[in-house]
C-alpha cells in the first residue's frame, strides 16, 4: 500500500458496533484514497457512515478490519499515547458545534493545540493572534466565544485547526450551523487557507451548496462509498464508481446530491 502524495489510504475498512442481534455495520469495506493538496468531501445521508469514517481516519475509533494508512502511519499499529501524539502533531479539527472553550478568548482557544504540545502560554497565544489576523479576526482576538457570531466562532475553530500546521485537517459539518452566506464565506476561507501542497482536508457535510469547493467527493450510503467524484476542479467528470476494489451500491440518495455528479 503506497502512500506517496497520499494522505489517507483505506482498503476494505470496516467498522462494526455492538454484537449479536444488536450488531451494526457502520462501515462495510471502504476503499478510498485521499490525496495531499486536495479537499475531499464525504457526503451522504445521516447514518451513511461518513462521521464513523472520519473517526476511524483520525484514530478516534479503531477499524474493525481492513487496511488504513494515515500520513504514512497505521493508526492501529500505534500505542494509545503515540496515537494521541500523532493526532496532536498531524491533525487539525473543525467541529460542527465549534467546541470552543467558553472560558477562553478567541486567541487562547486558537492556542490550545500549541499549549497541548508544550508551547509556552505567551508564545502560543501570540501565535494564535497571528492566525486570527490571517483570517481577518485580529479585532476579535480577545473576545470570548459567547461574544462571537457563528461565522466568527467557526473562523476561530478554523484558526485552531491550522495553528500547529497539521498535514491533515478534518472538518465535521463545518457549515451546518451557519446560514448560507456565512457558510460560503467560511468555506472560501477554509479553501484558501487550509488546502495547500502537503496538506489534505477532509470535510464531512450534508450541504450540497459547498460541493464546488471539493477536489474529490465520496458519496456514502449504508456504510459504503457508492460513488466517487475525483479531480473535480480540473473539470473531470465523475466516474460514478468507487475505486476498483470498493463495493458498489445503488442506494438512493436522499438529499439530491447525486444530481450534481459530473455537474
Amino acid at each position: 500500500m503506497s502512500s506517496n502524495g497520499i494522505a489517507v489510504v483505506s482498503r476494505e475498512v470496516t467498522k462494526t458496533f455492538g454484537r449479536g442481534d444488536t450488531k451494526v455495520h457502520a462501515l462495510r469495506g471502504i476503499d478510498l484514497d485521499i490525496r495531499l493538496g486536495e479537499l475531499t468531501m464525504l457526503v451522504g445521508p445521516s447514518g451513511s457512515g461518513k462521521t464513523t469514517l472520519l473517526s476511524v481516519i483520525t484514530g478516534l475509533l479503531d477499524a474493525t478490519s481492513g487496511e488504513l494508512m494515515v500520513l504514512g502511519q497505521r493508526p492501529t499499529a500505534l500505542a494509545p499515547e503515540e496515537l494521541i501524539l500523532f493526532r496532536r502533531k498531524n491533525l487539525g479539527f473543525v467541529f460542527q458545534q465549534y467546541n470552543l472553550i467558553p472560558a477562553l478568548t478567541a486567541a487562547e482557544n486558537v492556542a490550545v493545540p500549541l499549549l497541548a504540545g508544550g508551547t509556552k502560554r505567551r508564545q502560543a497565544v501570540a501565535r494564535g493572534k497571528e492566525f486570527l489576523a490571517a483570517l481577518s479576526m485580529a479585532h476579535r482576538a480577545d473576545a470570548l466565544p459567547s461574544e462571537l457570531s457563528g461565522g466568527e466562532q467557526q473562523r476561530v475553530a478554523l484558526a485552531r485547526a491550522l495553528v500547529h500546521e497539521p498535514r491533515l485537517i478534518v472538518c465535521d459539518e463545518p457549515t451546518s450551523a451557519l446560514d448560507g452566506r456565512t457558510g460560503h464565506a467560511v468555506m472560501e476561507l477554509l479553501s484558501a487557507t487550509a488546502v495547500r501542497p502537503g496538506r489534505a482536508v477532509i470535510i464531512v457535510t450534508h450541504a450540497s451548496r459547498i460541493f464546488d469547493f471539493a477536489d474529490q467527493i465520496a458519496h456514502m450510503d449504508d456504510g459504503r462509498i457508492v460513488s466517487l467524484e475525483e479531480d473535480r476542479k480540473n473539470g473531470n467528470s465523475a466516474n460514478g464508481l468507487a475505486p476498483a476494489s470498493a463495493t458498489f451500491s445503488l442506494a438512493e440518495p436522499n438529499d439530491g446530491s447525486f444530481l450534481r455528479i459530473g455537474g
Binding site: L85, R87, R88, F95, N99, P102, L104, E173
Partner: protein, 379 residues
C-alpha cells in the same frame, strides 16, 4: 494547560464560589465543632493539669476521676510517704463549697486546698497577687471568671471578701486557672483552711500528691504505691485521661458533637463532590474536544486535579480563616476561654478536605477517561 484548567474553573462563577463556600463552611464547621469538643472534653482535667509540681495522684481505689472523690484517711498520706521511690507527698483537698458574695449572690465553687507548707497545687499563673499570700489568715485565690462573677464590672483587685460556711474568705490573689468543666469559680486556699470552708466530714483528704525520687520512673512509683497501700496511684497524664474518658462515656457530649461533625463531613463531602462532578460533566464536551485535539489523559487528569486542589485549598483556607476569627473573638470570652483551634485539628481537616476533593475528582476523572473522543463528532 494549567491556565486553561483554571480559566475553565473560574468561568462559571456560581459553581466556583459554590464549591469554595461549601468547602469553606464544611471546614469551618468541622474545625469549630471538633475544637470546641476537644476544649470541653479537656476541661474535666483542668484542675489536674494545673497542678504542675507533682507527677503522681494517689486516691481511693474507687475514685474514677477528680469530680467525684471518696476521701482518704489522714494516715494514708504517711503511708504514701513511706513507699520507696517517693521523694515527697503532700495532701490536696478538692471539692466544692458554696461561696457567698457581699451582695448575697452565691455560687458553688471548686475549692482546692493545697499543702500549707509547700503550696504544691497552688495556681501557677497569677494575674494579681502571689501564691505566697495564701499564708495570710482566711486567704483565698480566686480565678478571674469567679471574681468577675462575684464582683461584676469591677476591676481585678485583692482585698475583697467572700463568705464560705459562715467564714470569711479574703481574696489575696486572682489566678488564671484553667476553665473547669462546670464553669464554677475556682478558689485556692491552704489545706488547713479549706477544711474550715466546707462542711465538716470525717475524712477530707481528697488526694495525696507525690513526686517520684530522681531517676525513678513515675510509673514504677505508681505501681509501688498501689502495691504498698492498696490505693490507686495515677500519673498526671493518666489521671487527666481518666477524667476525659469518664465524661466521654457518661455524658451525651460525644454523641452530640459527633452528630454535628458527621453532618459537617457529609455536607462537606457530598455538596462539593456533587458540584464538582456536575462541573466536570458540563465540561465533558470540551474535555472530549481536548482529547481529540491530542491532549493526553494524563494531562486532563492533571487539569482536573489542579481544579480540585484550587477549590479545595481556597475553601480550606477560607474555612480556617473563619475558624481562626471565631476563636480569636471568643478566646477572651469567659465561658469559652481556653477553647482554641489546635494545629492538629487544622492538619486533620486539611487531610479530610484533601480526600474529599480527590474523591470528587476521581469520580469526575473516571467519566472523562471513559469518554470516547469520537463523541465530539456527534454534534
Amino acid at each position: 494547560m494549567n491556565f486553561v484548567a483554571l480559566k475553565m474553573l473560574v468561568a462559571d462563577r456560581a459553581k466556583y464560589f459554590g464549591l469554595i463556600f461549601a468547602i469553606a463552611f464544611a471546614s469551618f464547621l468541622l474545625a469549630n465543632q471538633i475544637s470546641i469538643f476537644i476544649g470541653i472534653m479537656t476541661r474535666p482535667a483542668s484542675q489536674i493539669r494545673d497542678v504542675v509540681d507533682a507527677d503522681i495522684w494517689v486516691m481511693d481505689p474507687q475514685t474514677l476521676y477528680d469530680g467525684e472523690v471518696y476521701a482518704l484517711r489522714d494516715s494514708d498520706l504517711y503511708r504514701v510517704r513511706s513507699v520507696s521511690g517517693v521523694e515527697w507527698a503532700v495532701p490536696l483537698y478538692k471539692g466544692t463549697g458554696r461561696a457567698k458574695g457581699p451582695d448575697g449572690k452565691f455560687r458553688t465553687v471548686i475549692l482546692m486546698g493545697v499543702d500549707d507548707a509547700t503550696l504544691v497545687g497552688a495556681p501557677r499563673k497569677m494575674l494579681l497577687g502571689s501564691i505566697r499570700d495564701l499564708d495570710q489568715p482566711d486567704a483565698g485565690i480566686i480565678d478571674k471568671a469567679g471574681f468577675l462573677y462575684f464582683f461584676p464590672g469591677e476591676p481585678l483587685q485583692v482585698g475583697k471578701t467572700l463568705q464560705m460556711n459562715e467564714r470569711r474568705v479574703l481574696i489575696v490573689g486572682i489566678s488564671d486557672a484553667s476553665a473547669p468543666f462546670q464553669s464554677f469559680p475556682v478558689l485556692h486556699t491552704r489545706y488547713s483552711q479549706a477544711l474550715g470552708f466546707v462542711g465538716r466530714e470525717r475524712n477530707l483528704l481528697s488526694f495525696v500528691l507525690a513526686k517520684p525520687a530522681p531517676g525513678v520512673p513515675v510509673e514504677d512509683v505508681c505501681h509501688r504505691i498501689q502495691a504498698a497501700t492498696g490505693l490507686r496511684a495515677r500519673t498526671t497524664g493518666e489521671f487527666s485521661g481518666d477524667a476525659f474518658l469518664f465524661y466521654l462515656r457518661n455524658t451525651g457530649i460525644p454523641v452530640n458533637f459527633g452528630i454535628t461533625v458527621m453532618i459537617a463531613l457529609i455536607i462537606g463531602s457530598v455538596v462539593p463532590g456533587q458540584t464538582f462532578y456536575i462541573f466536570t460533566i458540563e465540561n465533558l464536551k470540551h474535555f472530549g474536544a481536548l482529547k481529540a485535539i491530542g491532549v493526553t489523559n494524563r494531562r486532563i487528569i492533571g487539569m482536573i486535579l489542579l481544579q480540585a486542589m484550587v477549590v479545595g485549598s481556597t475553601g480550606y483556607a477560607l474555612g480556617m480563616g473563619m475558624a481562626a476569627a471565631f476563636f480569636s473573638v471568643f478566646l477572651n470570652y469567659l465561658p469559652t476561654r481556653g477553647i482554641v483551634l489546635p494545629w492538629q485539628v487544622m492538619a486533620g481537616i486539611a487531610v479530610v478536605v484533601f480526600f474529599v476533593v480527590v474523591l470528587a475528582s476521581l469520580m469526575s476523572i473516571r467519566r472523562v477517561l471513559v469518554l470516547e473522543p469520537a463523541v465530539v463528532f456527534r454534534g
